[in-house]
Symmetry: C2
Subunit: 153 residues, 2 copies
DNA sequence: TATGAAAGTTTTAAATA
DNA sequence: TATTTAAAACTTTCATA
């Protein structure tokens, strides 16, 4: 599963994480190589699934998404059927930006991005009407101090 | 601060979020318009800061980042000086992918991506040696169910 | 908004070290 | 085997209608 990267591959990934809109020439210059070898390496890493989706990060606040909640969920249900239904609900709801199953006494954590507190409540009511959860704590973000998708390669 | 989008702008953003590597022609076709107007809209949204960084999402597991923690922090310190130091520490550490200041009795939440539990411990020790925190709870992710940066436009 | 032309980029192939 | 060169196909960018 673990892909073997050399120093050049690492540098290419750092550049792509920093700015995926750069030209091949520019990336090649930055990593001290030239176009074709860089292109071949990127192609190989894309095929291996190391490099995934190419996307843009949008300004959530400017677009009216003014509320962000981290939701801690405890459940008493641990059956396969319940879990499948719960995961499906999370994947289908676009306001859920992240969902993790946890070790320890909190079972799941979600990151939920919505326009306002009312929209969060609507999301919450819809979720608990779909699946039974034992205990839910919502932590409201007052300030996004840092947000990056870059891995510390 | 809030930018006024019409239906076409929204469709363009949806396409860019889905795949920022598409050509203008392709985006134009998908949103039912043509190259020039789409290009002008994208330019305007970039200039307004609505569209930010263009990046690639990498496969964390395949690259050996096998541990992800959500860290809940309570502090007794609320002075400006302490806060400035704490924020600086978070911004400088590349393993911190997200950091939010919260409302309520938990003061901060972090998302920390590291190679393994040992690397998390090293991060934790370094952080608490830099700034005093009152109480720290680390939630270990067992499974990333969902992860997207897309806003539900 | 549409057209189109100039500049730049990606992609593939052939040649070279 | 990996890199450089080269050239075709495609894209972006922008002036003009």
């Amino acid at each position: 599963m673990s892909f073997r990267l050399d120093e050049t591959d690492r540098k290419i990934l750092l550049q792509l994480q920093r700015d995926a809109g750069q030209s091949l020439d520019e990336i090649a210059r930055q990593v001290g190589s030239s176009k074709t070898p860089v292109w071949n390496r990127i192609k190989k890493m894309r095929e291996a699934g190391i490099i995934g989706q190419q996307t843009v990060l949008l300004d959530a606040e400017a677009l009216g998404f003014e509320a962000c909640f981290f939701v801690l969920i405890r459940t008493s249900e641990h059956e396969a059927e319940w879990q499948a239904k719960f995961l499906k609900a999370l994947k289908e709801r676009p306001e859920v930006q992240e969902a993790h199953r946890l070790a320890g006494d909190i079972d799941y954590i979600l990151k939920v991005r919505v326009k306002n507190a009312r929209a969060y409540d609507a999301f919450y009511q819809a979720l608990i009407s779909e699946v039974k959860v034992h205990n839910v704590t919502a932590l409201l973000s007052m300030e996004e101090i840092k947000a990056t998708t870059a891995l510390p390669l």
